[in-house]
Symmetry: C2
Subunit: 179 residues, 2 copies
């Protein structure tokens, strides 16, 4: 089972969903640390069903055909096995950091511009994250992990904005007093 398969499995474990609903759920939650497109989701649903990890049933709305998938016992088992494993891959592709890494090759003003643009990007990101509603209130000390992960994203971007501010300040003062 691929990791994108695990996302799908997890979402249908929470409640039965159609492919379309899975895509919507991904886009409003895991997208920032695990994205998925239709081009992955539908073929993966097929594979998971063939593997007996999920089961789909027709659930049309009017004449609009629609299939809803629920997790099977075997699927739940596979999902739990993945989930409990405390090992995880991590991969980042950050073109902004890449440009900053090479910014010595740029005139100071252009480098400063890069930092400001990065700050603005974090600000936009933050706004999108803050627009996401946290789940229903704390259920008697329950963990509400999706909210924790949302807080992680928010905190991370706030930290990054602070970093940009520091760098901007350092760069500006170095600019004023060259040599």
């Amino acid at each position: 089972m691929s990791r994108t398969g695990a996302v799908i499995l997890g979402l249908v474990a929470l409640r039965p969903r159609s492919g379309y609903e899975i895509k919507a759920a991904v886009d409003s939650s895991t997208r920032f640390f695990w994205a998925a497109s239709y081009g992955q989701i539908y073929p993966e649903l097929k594979r998971l069903e063939e593997g007996g990890l999920i089961a789909g049933e027709p659930a049309p709305r009017g004449a609009r055909r629609r299939r809803v998938f629920r997790i099977t016992p075997a699927g739940r088992e596979a999902f739990d096995a993945w989930l409990a494993q405390p090992e995880f891959s991590w991969e980042l592709r950050d073109e902004g950091l890449l440009k900053l890494f090479f910014a010595d090759l740029l005139p100071p003003a252009a480098a400063l511009e890069l930092v400001r643009a990065r700050r603005a990007a974090h600000e936009r990101f933050l706004a999108r994250l803050r627009a996401i509603q946290p789940g229903p209130g704390p259920v008697a000390g329950a963990a509400r992990f999706p909210d924790l992960v949302l807080e992680y994203g928010i905190g991370m971007n706030e930290w990054a904005i602070g970093w940009c501010d520091e760098v901007e300040r350092a760069l500006s003062s170095a600019d004023e007093r060259p040599g």
Copy 2:
């Protein structure tokens, strides 16, 4: 020009290098926000040379064949154009956050274990980053952007460790006082 092409272009802009040296430079610097393997580097070198952005010359060491690439004026132009553009893609695949997102489906003890494992991973990451030597001392107010980016990685991981600590604490107290 692809973004991995830009990394290669930037590294040979700093100084002429062989494919092997590019791989080593990537592994000890950009790897954490932009990785590259031999399977990308050598074909990309070929493409960049064919496009006239870099020029390779034989530079054998003994009987060991070796080619060193330097950037051409056209290459430098293309690189600068990419570098100055304050737009950048950003993509994260974080399996740890994914597991945390679904951790409501796990017994509390196992969820706690996930947080601890993430903390340990950040700790290891931090150790690797701190092992990287910063470049030569500040050259009269020069920016030393690679060092700034290194500091970014260090600061980010320190922040993440703090987040893990907070979550661990919240989880432990909820565990002691259930309901």
